[in-house]
Symmetry: C2
Subunit: 228 residues, 2 copies
DNA sequence: TAGATTGTTAATCGATTAACAATC
DNA sequence: TAGATTGTTAATCGATTAACAATC
């Protein structure tokens, strides 16, 4: 089982998680080339840009249908829209944020998180000093009111930006409030019911991997960036 | 090639990246059980805790030697220390931060980043309004001075917390200043020389994967958290 | 000693890549 | 038409898991 892996127990024709992760990368590339004025791109050109094998790219897309024209390539804007739709980023996705500290403020201020259809609709904390303050557009509410607030909002995505010590309890509250997908920034392995998904973002883990390679790498060994 | 993959061109007995990523997870678990007063743990008990297969755990460790005692299990504190050493988290690791916005402030304030041997030793920005301000213990300096500052500090890890538009240019500056490992928070695919490693943290990517599964999941399909 | 659990090998599983007929 | 490039199948590669002899 890989870090950040999500495993449906029952599914036919399941799309591999690495494929889903790469779709977001393709969106970044398509965004970049579109800005450069390019309207059509081949899988070979994308390999050059993203460092992802052309066959891989075509195979990834093949899970979802046909997207290109033999001898021509892919229409950049069209492919961008279709991948966005595949990821369901073309419909409104409401999100709750718990934790109004530095990280919470950074997330609330991040445009990528209030862009297009991803919408941060409420922010919570348990610190009285933070409650009532503004976090971007949002007024910070007490975490104890998350269930009643979300009864109206109906958000199914929760972002967990609280200290490790509070993370499990807050996750449980989120789930009781209707959240079914959690983006967890706390360095802890959350216990959740089987119908709740968790993706972990762990800065320390990333740094460990970098440290390992930095020290392990004798002169002459070369490293390449994959992507992200 | 996977997201966040790092590929040494020349290496015998290479440790798989998924294994390295899991080592950080094992540290989290060991930390937790140690606090609960447990001194010895079996791979089966760890499977229960971390949701990572017991064989996987033993196999991961086998890349680095022998750690347990048949019939007994693993000594928690000892294993924690040894994994820490494997990841080179037992020696000082100096890091530069570029980008003193919300995210930079959150990172500078994060204890995990000034914990133990991971040391944030300098912070930079290009906004005159931010230069001279304090970010945690650090005074924000102009990004143009990164090379001269790092000539003294000798940090080899750089944390990139600037907007997408500035990310590539700043990465290039970091590398010129001696950085060989970059933790990138900008949603862009960095172009770097082959001896520089990049790990990407992409919140939007994580959310895409959550959105996909939220929408794709018909009633009756169940999901499990892997870990992180 | 008997029971438990490791480290490691072999089997399985799944993901990546190469190759190529189909097609623009 | 000839050249280019797709979508897909088959081959390769690597990671995960099961099984078990060795060992405490």
């Amino acid at each position: 089982m890989d870090a950040n892996e999500i495993r449906p127990a029952i599914t036919a024709n399941r799309v591999p998680t690495p494929t889903l992760e790469r779709l977001a990368t393709y969106l970044k590339c398509l965004h970049d080339v579109a800005q450069a004025g390019v309207t059509t791109i081949s899988s070979a050109a994308l390999q050059e840009m993203a460092g992802i094998n052309a066959s891989q790219f075509r195979k990834d897309l093949s899970y979802f249908g046909e997207f290109g024209r033999p001898g021509v390539g892919y229409h950049v804007a069209d492919l961008h829209d279709r991948i966005t739709a595949i990821l369901h980023m073309d419909v409104d996705q409401r999100m709750l944020l718990v934790g109004a500290g530095n990280l919470g403020a950074a997330l609330a201020g991040y445009t990528g998180l209030n862009d297009e259809r991803l919408q941060l609709v409420a922010a919570f904390d348990n610190d009285p000093a933070r409650i009532g303050r503004k976090l971007g557009q949002l007024k910070v509410e007490h975490v104890g009111s998350i269930a009643t607030v979300n009864a109206d909002l109906g958000a199914r995505i929760g972002i967990l930006a609280v200290p490790r010590s509070a993370a499990q309890a807050v996750a449980t509250l989120m789930i009781a409030a209707g959240v079914r997908a959690i983006l967890n920034f706390a360095p802890i392995i959350l216990r959740v019911p089987p119908d709740v998904m968790v993706r972990n973002v762990c800065v320390t883990q990333e740094l460990s991997v970098l440290c390992y390679h930095l020290e392990a790498m004798p002169a002459g060994h070369r490293h390449r960036q994959g992507e992200g």
